[in-house]
């Protein structure tokens, strides 16, 4: 039995698990008046629901991932050789990230690209937090309703434009002969145009802009539910404004901050469009490498392996930070 066929057995196992979960749904619930899952929905509908949910999670979410996991442990082979004697399980694709395939020297190009991607994503996350926190605080706590609505609209409307167009228009603005350089030269700030794209300013701006709302909404939601009196109580007890934020607002909004930061970090590390349009020529964005493996070299195995490396590094980092700031994973999706 090939490993690919194995993938298709798992659905049956998962359906069984789902069914068992439904069956024992109220096992730990002591309320006797509460109806069980099948009592509420009937046998036929109940089974249909479970089957549909299982189908959706499996075939549209689970299986493709699983397929990619399996794929990443295979060598790159032309279609005719698939399933043949050369089609063995191997960790060569993962190895190739660390060591160049032929020369056996350390693969600095890809490693530094990953490092760069992670670094930029962290900076973008921090940048977005610094931009969004004051805004979210203003909108949630101090702003007058009318102004807040207007501000919200100004924040949302740009996102009606699609991502590529947005990135491209930023590129036009930031180019050496773009509007911003022209203005800077006209004011006399600089004589030669500043290379915003080459020095990665464009990349930071573009990524921050792309995921601004992703940071904004969790922060806004978290701060909005904070009782105004808490802030006033701290102020009344003599706290200066920064202490109020440090002691009252931020601890309260921590789950929101964590979920905003996690999402911005994950999305920007995995983004494709903004880095391609706005990144400098000196550094490679990691997803661009993955993209090339899939669509230029048709090396799905290595592309998949690289994807999982990125995913693993990101998850590890997020977990580390959540642990560091004492937030549980459950809280972030509160």
């Amino acid at each position: 039995m090939s490993s690919r066929a194995f993938v298709f057995i798992i659905p049956i196992i998962v359906i069984a698990i789902f069914w068992a979960m439904a069956k024992f749904e109220y096992r730990n619930n002591n309320d006797p008046t509460r109806k069980g899952y099948f009592e509420r929905n009937g046998k036929v509908l109940g089974i249909a629901f479970i089957a549909l949910v299982a189908f959706w999670t499996l075939f549209l979410v689970g299986l493709p991932y699983l397929y990619m996991v399996v794929e990443s442990f295979h060598p790159q082979l032309p279609p005719i050789k698939r399933g043949g004697p050369d089609d063995i399980l191997t960790i060569a694709q993962y190895q190739s990230f660390l060591l160049s395939k032929h020369t056996d020297s350390i693969n600095w190009l890809h490693i530094s690209s990953l490092g760069f991607t992670i670094f930029v994503s962290i900076v973008v996350t921090a940048l977005n937090f610094c931009i969004c926190y004051p805004l979210a605080y203003y909108m949630a706590q101090t702003g007058a309703t009318q102004k807040v609505r207007l501000l919200m609209l100004c924040l949302i409307v740009p996102y009606w434009v699609n991502e590529i167009l947005r990135a491209f228009s930023l590129r036009l603005l930031l180019a050496s002969k773009g509007l911003i350089n022209q203005i800077l030269m006209w004011v006399g700030f600089t004589d030669v145009p500043i290379d915003f794209l080459g020095n990665n300013t464009g990349l930071y701006v573009g990524l921050s802009y792309a995921y601004l709302l992703v940071m904004m909404f969790p922060l806004y939601n978290a701060i909005e539910s904070l009782d105004k009196n808490q802030i006033e109580a701290a102020r009344d007890l003599g706290a200066p404004w920064w202490r109020i934020h440090k002691d009252v607002v931020i601890p309260y909004a921590k789950p929101g901050i964590a979920s905003g930061c996690t999402m911005v970090f994950m999305l920007s590390a995995g983004s494709l469009a903004a880095p391609q349009f706005l990144g400098g020529p000196r550094m490679l964005w990691f997803t661009a490498i993955i993209y090339d493996f899939f669509f230029q070299n048709f090396n799905w195995a290595r592309g998949a392996a690289y994807s999982f490396i990125l995913l693993a590094v990101c998850i590890a980092l997020v977990m580390l930070l959540l642990r560091l700031f004492k937030v549980s994973l459950g809280e972030t999706i509160r």
Binding site: N229, D236, G238
Partner: protein, 361 residues
Amino acid sequence: MSAGVELDQITVRFGEFTAVDNATLDIKGGEFFSFLGPSGCGKTTILRTVSGFLEPSDGTVRIGGQDMRGIGPNKRPTALIFQNLALFPLMSVSENITYGLRVRGMGKAERRKKADELLELIALPGQGDKLVSELSGGQKQRVAIARALAVQPQVLLLDEPLSALDLKLRQHMRNELRAIQQLVGITFIYITHDQGEALTMSDRIAVMSDGVIQQVADGKSVYDDPKTAFVASFVGENNAFAGTVTRADGDYAVVETAFGPLRGRNSHGLRPGGRAILFIRPESARLAAGAPDATFSSKVKNVAFEGNMSHVFLEGIGKKDVTVTVSRQDGAAIPGQDEVAAISYDPNLGLVLPEGKMARE
């Protein structure tokens, strides 16, 4: 230690709306002073002006003789206890209590000591490490008081702090608050719409209506000698008889009411022809005939027996009944339903006030 608070012609406007209208008051140091008034009359607004969260549109607030203009709430010698307490849910009881000291830079060991002292004061010794959510309503109340007292304010401002508690606890906390005030000796400014609270605890009371201070006096004077129709109708039960003054002689005036001419004390010196309201408290009226211009009659609608006393409700003018409270010691016979009874009162206890806005009910 304690400072007086002066309000000098304070007006607070929100846009077109005037929430506090030209309030002038002199609260003495160490006084337990209450603001009493119905919901929305501007009590919280006054308190926020004193604590510095609001700048008055006009007028001056002085605390301890010092003009407070431009001084923020974190710099004023006041501490505020919020209507919903606003304890910090993520801090322990001790951390809550000593938060004000922490922002003032007091060291940990000293804070610990201070917290223990205050926990002792509010009768919660050894409970400093609990979370706020683990406390009962009354305990939270006391923690809020301790948190405010920790910063040694000269004036403590309390915004209906007991309104969230049940009746029993509320009555208990009244005594406790009063005891704490006497112990620490600082000025308490207390806000409430519950007249029982105001009357039992306060040295003086300001009765407010629609942003206007109607009367400032001690509880007994507010009850016995209300200065406006609003105060007479808001504080305690009162029977009101509107009419026109027909005669004014010396300290008394006769008002022509729907029940005929009735006499009362004319404390405002009203002249004949003026519109007036005669107020007679239920406990001042008797179910017997008396002097001709202090007696009227009406049909009994129903009687509510309450143990040591009975309330007799008689047909009044419009929807509002005339109430007479008969205490058991009087030994007076209580008429049956639908009987027509004579009602009389001591004209000294009937009060003739100029017509004006009445408390809603």
